[in-house]
Amino acid sequence: MTLLNIFADPHISINHYIAVSAMLFTIGVFGVLFRRNAITIFMCIELMLNSVNLLLVAFSTYHHDNSGQVFVFFIMAVAAAEVAVGLAILVTIFRNLHTIDIDELKNLKN
């Protein structure tokens, strides 16, 4: 059972969850790499984390093991703390530069 032949499978199996999560994760990664607006980048990072959450819950049910679902709560709590700090940094940048375009951040290059 590889990732590629899941489309031939009429029942929803664990591989479908893996495929959806991998797609969401990839969308997040490309958003972080190619978007220039800091808020959009934050949202893409959240997308990456939420694809992980989805996959963890799917695996947790698949293995009949609760620890995967507990891990999701860890990720949610930490992501909230992380984004709080990130938004605070963004506010200080906006106060100093009046923009949140990360291409404007180039004071540190030689």
């Binding site: 990072i45 093991d65 891990f71 940048i93």
Partner: protein, 464 residues
């Protein structure tokens, strides 16, 4: 692992001291408390590798030794923060408590035995550092460093989490030992391999190894210098130890497939780090690239997973930590007096302040690996482990690049001893705390060079 509990309480206690308006005593109280925690930490030494909190943490000698190193580093940083933040006294307790919380993250990172603690430790460490990197609110360079560090750090955590999830999907457990058991049965699921590679990428991001090192120089340059010192010592050592722990317990059985990736990464890291450091004229940027290069040398120890390579890694991190903490102590003191971060700021230090110049010279020589200093034995042990595991080609690259590194360390040494300062200023000594920290680091660097056996053996390995 009582050190972790007590350190968390210490961080909260800092904030309480601020409420009761005891700001004046917060630095000495925290330094003494950290030294007490250091003592408590070593009472568990050579215990029977007890596991805590349902096998979330494991207090083996590896964890205790690195915890001790991190506590000493944090105590040094806290001791310096009193004079470093003298312009913003009202925020001192906040800064110190964030430093202590960073230490908590570091302790969780070196003693985890469950993927959940790896993630929590890494995030506590990183989030505290994002705050400290951006702590000069009105300075656009500090804002920028914080933003870059935040974006790179949370991107890497996302990759790490996806890797952990895939490994969980294949093994059904977050416990390192159980993952190791699954991996040793052979016939692993492809998603397990993909997961391990993603974890590997995230860890390389955190230790700033070469394809993923581009954030380090900018972040090091923009952050307040004390925070830069913290990233170069505390955070790098904790991430490196976590890297080693993860791979030595869980992935050691199918490691041969990853060893060649790591050897290419290590060789590139040493080459790029040392070659780019050659033409830097900022002290902080030069140390940033030198830190990238040192990450490459430490990767040699991870690459040659062996009973003894934990010892080699620990010795290397001790030598590197004390040399760079001391260099930053003197660097902060000089850059604050001359108000410049260029290497020219160190001109004439040999005449105006001989002790600081001698100490900085010795730290630079130790980092370059000149005998008989700690850095020489550090490199010797790491190279020896790599040769034992047939990584001769990488060791040759390592030897050549450490010869190259002598050049840029000497650039700083020559600036101190042979050039004269343009401003004929009085030889102000700088705050006593910087000089004291530098003196302690100097003693350790010299002592470990003469008696390298002072560093305890930590061969009782995690979970095995």
């Amino acid at each position: 692992m009582r050190a972790l509990t007590y350190t968390s309480f210490l961080g909260i206690a800092c904030l309480v001291l601020e409420i009761f308006n005891l700001r004046k005593i917060v630095v000495p109280v925290v330094v003494l408390a950290l030294l007490a925690i250091l003592g408590i930490n070593f009472t568990e030494w050579n215990g029977s590798s007890v596991s805590f909190y349902n096998d979330m943490l494991r207090a083996d000698n590896f964890a205790l030794a690195f915890t001790g190193l991190l506590i000493v580093t944090a105590a040094g940083l806290v001791a310096m923060s009193g004079s470093f933040y003298d312009a913003e006294e009202t925020k001192l307790a906040d800064y110190i408590s964030v430093i202590v919380f960073t230490l908590c993250g570091g302790i969780a990172l070196v003693s985890f035995s469950n993927m959940a603690m790896l993630f929590i430790g890494l995030e506590v460490l990183s989030i505290s550092l994002y705050i400290l990197a951006g702590s000069k609110r009105r300075d656009i360079r500090s804002n920028e460093a914080a933003m870059k560090y935040f974006l790179m750090g949370s991107f890497a955590s996302g990759i790490l989490l996806f890797g952990i999830t895939l490994v969980y999907g294949a093994t059904g457990s977050f416990n390192l030992v159980q993952i190791g058991v699954y991996a040793s049965e052979g016939n692993v699921d492809p998603i397990f391999t993909v997961g391990v590679i993603m974890i590997l990428i995230a860890m390389l991001f955190k230790v700033s190894a070469v394809p993923f090192h581009f954030w380090a120089p900018d972040v090091y340059e923009g952050s307040p210098t004390l925070t830069t010192a913290m990233m170069a010592t505390l955070s790098k050592v904790a991430a490196m130890a976590a890297f080693y722990r993860l791979f030595s317990v869980s992935f050691v059985n199918n490691f041969s497939g990853f060893a060649w990736i790591l050897s290419v990464v290590a060789a590139l890291t040493m080459l790029v780090g040392n070659l780019t450091a050659l033409n830097q004229d900022s002290f902080k940027r030069m140390l940033a690239f030198s830190g990238v290069a040192h990450a490459g040398y430490m990767l040699l120890a991870i690459m040659s997973l062996y009973q003894n390579s934990a010892n080699a890694l620990f010795f290397y991190t001790v030598a590197y930590t004390f040399a760079s903490l001391g260099a930053f102590a003197i660097g902060i003191s000089v850059m604050k007096r001359r108000k410049s971060e260029k290497i020219e700021a160190f001109n004439g230090l040999g005449k105006s302040n001989p002790f600081q110049a001698v100490a900085l010279t010795i730290f630079m020589l130790s980092m370059a690996g000149i005998p008989p200093l700690a850095g020489f034995f550090a490199k010797y042990y790491v190279f020896f482990e790599a040769i034992k595991t047939q990584h001769l080609a990488v060791v040759i690259v390592a030897v050549i690049t450490s010869a190259i590194s002598v050049y840029y360390y000497f650039k700083l040494i020559l600036a101190m001893w042979t050039r004269d300062s343009e401003e004929g200023e009085a030889a102000a000594g700088g705050a006593i705390s910087y000089v004291a920290i530098a003196a302690i680091c100097l003693v350790v660097t010299l002592a470990l060079g003469v008696l390298p056996s002072l560093v305890p053996s930590i061969s009782q390995m995690a979970g095995r």
